[in-house]
């Protein structure tokens, strides 16, 4: 029994690490640029296909391919901010929603066209192996993904806390107008925020690729969890999204174990509703007055 619970917690934590990479991207964009990026999952999908092709064509390990997918998607993020999102900022919310939503549809359909609907998987020497100890097991691929996800989140947190650009980002997220008065160039800050968020999505994709099949609609599977984590962890709060993602992974896993395999998400949503009832702006926000 103890082993079963321990295993359930381990499983939840490991997948929570992947949720974290996706949700931190969403929350960063929301916090800084104040738009909801519905296409975040699709950039995870692009990261997966990048890794898939690097692996099948050039024999590059999916974990190593993070070094390619992150910079490539960073540039994509900057370009999207500069040529698309910048144009709709300051208008009301609807054009912004439609923009990222349209982007998501466009990317999915282009992927169906170019990549076809077939599932693609990569097999590395570690992808189907695991550590076994005390009656539980930890798959190598998921452990590597989890550790790298935590390292990347840590680096991002340090960046936001210690560098000038990071501080400028936090300032812009707190109050855009005042930040501008302090000499912060919002366009530059927004472009970097988009770049980082998409680079994280790319990293999530590459790390997923060693144990999850890629297909054009795969982004949708992960983005729902990411949105819940963003709300649960307080909109715009990076640390909150990280903690919420890990909590959700564990809640889902325990829910599947002890309630039912089709009610894993019920536990997650109960967690969300309970949190919102007590702390209306999420875990990192204040208590209900």
């Amino acid at each position: 029994m103890l082993e079963t619970v321990m295993q359930a917690v381990i499983n939840g934590l490991l997948i929570g690490g992947i949720y974290a990479l996706v949700s931190i991207g969403v929350t960063l964009i929301f916090g800084v640029v104040k738009i909801v990026n519905f296409a975040q999952g699709e950039f995870v999908m692009i990261g997966m296909y990048l890794s898939y092709y690097l692996s099948s064509q050039f024999n590059i390990d999916p974990v190593v391919s993070v070094l390619f997918s992150m910079p490539i998607l960073f540039v994509v993020g900057v370009l999207i901010q500069h040529y698309l999102i910048r144009r709709v900022l300051g208008l009301n919310d609807l054009p912004q929603i439609f923009l990222t939503f349209a982007l998501s549809l466009l990317i999915i359909n282009l992927s169906l066209m170019f990549f076809t609907a077939n599932y693609r998987t990569i097999h590395t020497w570690y992808s189907d192996e695991a550590f076994h100890f005390w009656g539980v097991y930890i798959p190598y691929a998921k452990l590597i993904a989890f550790v790298l996800a935590m390292i990347l989140s840590g680096i991002l947190w340090l960046f936001l806390k210690t560098t000038d650009l990071g501080k400028a980002m936090r300032a812009a997220s707190q109050n855009r107008d005042v930040a501008q008065l302090m000499g912060i160039n919002p366009n530059r800050v927004f472009a970097v925020a988009l770049g980082i968020a998409l680079a994280l999505a790319g990293a999530a994709g590459s790390l997923l690729m060693s144990f999850y099949p890629a297909y054009p609609l795969v982004g949708q599977v992960f983005v729902l969890m990411a949105f819940v984590a963003v709300v649960l962890g307080t909109l715009g709060n990076v640390l909150g999204a990280l903690v919420a993602s890990l909590l959700m992974g564990i809640a889902e896993s325990l829910g599947i174990q002890f309630i039912g395999a089709d009610s894993g998400l019920i536990v997650v949503f109960i967690l969300l509703l309970a949190t919102l009832a007590l702390k209306p702006s999420g875990l990192a926000g204040g208590w209900r007055k």
Partner: protein, 401 residues
């Protein structure tokens, strides 16, 4: 699923259909000066089932070419079969309108389709009203209920699949303790209920019976539960994506369990491409396999030349179905769909391509069900799908994993 993502899917489907509506909706395969015999083909060439639908179309074309190259329908002066393909887009609403359109805008002698039972159930209603015979490899028992007289199902039914699956659990162990996991929509629920109902009479103990939501992010939590149940056999009624994750997780866990994954995506060449050697030893059940007869092996060779893959269950069955239609056309010597229906209802073949089914004989009962239809148990062995159960169909010995 949120309303938002449902809408999104609708939009995706709509965009897809816009692309294809102009081109794919009705392509006469060949133009003939003499009167050809029009056969309608309804398959999901776009949408979530696109991949399998495309394979079905390839098999349907192969069958028509084989018959035409051999001289067409001789009693109709060597008339060629003309395949009219229509894309039902993996969508029930589209299936209804496309079936209707296909029938009203072409003079059809018969129809085959649609792979997925959910789609076939709708298409056969439309065909029934228009009095055009529809022959299908879909497995739902529902197709044989409701007193339809234009629907013909030449292969084993879903309820027979469940029974075979239960019997096969004895291949690996004398005392099977089965965990049944199934995706919680129509496909998984219907098949798993069949398993549950028959388990006691087959003397198989079910220790876990668990629905799950298809498209999960991780199979590990579900398999952790299977492990805790103490099962030694796993029936997984899943779509391809989930199944890939399940098989890989079993390996990572080091779980020693026999797996029977039924039909569907599991018996497609794509499954092996995704899981590789981990697939070897896994068992399933199909209504057709490429090694069942010399004819099926010949079709398999031809199909391999075209696509590079072995001939999959549904595609192989589809070639047999086309030959059944040709047999009926030959006997009734008419293009009239009602005459073709009568000829189908008196069909009785036990040799040649038309009889290329497990059981080796096709004769329809009043409910449109082939009274000799039987499923065949299969196992992945070195990248190929081998028939292993029951003994009289077995072409390879059981691989113990």
């Amino acid at each position: 699923m949120t309303e938002l993502s449902q809408n999104r899917r609708k939009i995706i489907k709509a965009t897809g259909s816009a692309f294809f509506a102009s081109g794919l909706s009705a392509i006469p395969l060949r133009g003939y000066a003499a009167d050809p015999v029009n056969i309608g083909a309804l398959y999901p060439v776009t949408g979530s089932m696109a991949q399998i639908g495309t394979g079905c179309v390839a098999a349907a074309k192969l069958a028509v070419n084989m018959i035409n190259d051999a001289g067409g329908i001789k009693s109709l002066g060597g008339a060629k079969l003309n395949l009219i393909i229509s894309d039902v887009q993996s969508d029930t609403t589209v299936t209804r309108t496309e079936t209707d359109r296909l029938i009203t805008s072409n003079k059809l002698s018969a129809i085959h389709g649609c792979y997925a039972s959910a789609l076939t159930l709708i298409a056969c209603e439309v065909a029934e009203r228009a009095k055009v015979p529809l022959i299908t490899g879909s497995s739902s028992d529902m197709l044989n209920k409701g007193g339809r007289s234009y629907t013909f199902t030449p292969f084993a039914r879903a309820s027979q699949f469940a029974q075979t699956q239960l019997q096969m659990s004895r291949l690996a162990t004398d005392k099977p303790k089965v965990a049944v996991i199934f995706e919680n929509t129509a496909f998984g629920t219907a098949t798993s209920n069949g398993v549950k109902e028959l388990a006691a009479s087959e003397g198989v103990e079910i220790v876990m019976f668990e629905p799950y939501s298809a498209g999960f992010t991780d199979a590990a939590p579900l398999l952790n539960k299977v492990k805790a149940s103490g099962a030694n056999t796993l029936f997984s009624l899943s779509y391809l994506n989930d199944l890939i994750l399940i098989v890989r997780s079993i390996r990572q866990m080091g779980l020693n369990i026999a797996v029977n994954a039924g039909s569907g995506g599991f018996v497609m060449p794509d499954f092996y491409k995704n899981v590789g050697k981990l697939a070897d030893g896994l068992q399933g059940v199909t209504h057709w396999n490429h090694d069942i007869s010399p004819e099926s092996q010949k079709c398999n060779e031809e199909f391999k030349k075209i696509t590079g893959e072995f001939l999959f269950e549904y595609g192989g069955g589809l070639i047999a179905q086309t030959y059944m239609l040709a047999d009926a056309l030959e006997r009734c010597a008419s293009r009239d769909p009602q005459k073709v229906r009568e000829a189908l209802s008196t069909l009785d073949v036990s040799s040649g391509y038309a009889a290329m089914a497990p059981g080796g004989r096709v004769k329809f009962g009043p409910d449109g069900k082939n009274i000799y239809g039987r499923p065949v148990g299969v196992q992945w062995q070195n990248g190929d799908l081998a028939s292993i159960y029951p003994k009289d169909f077995a072409k390879a010995s059981v691989l113990k994993s």
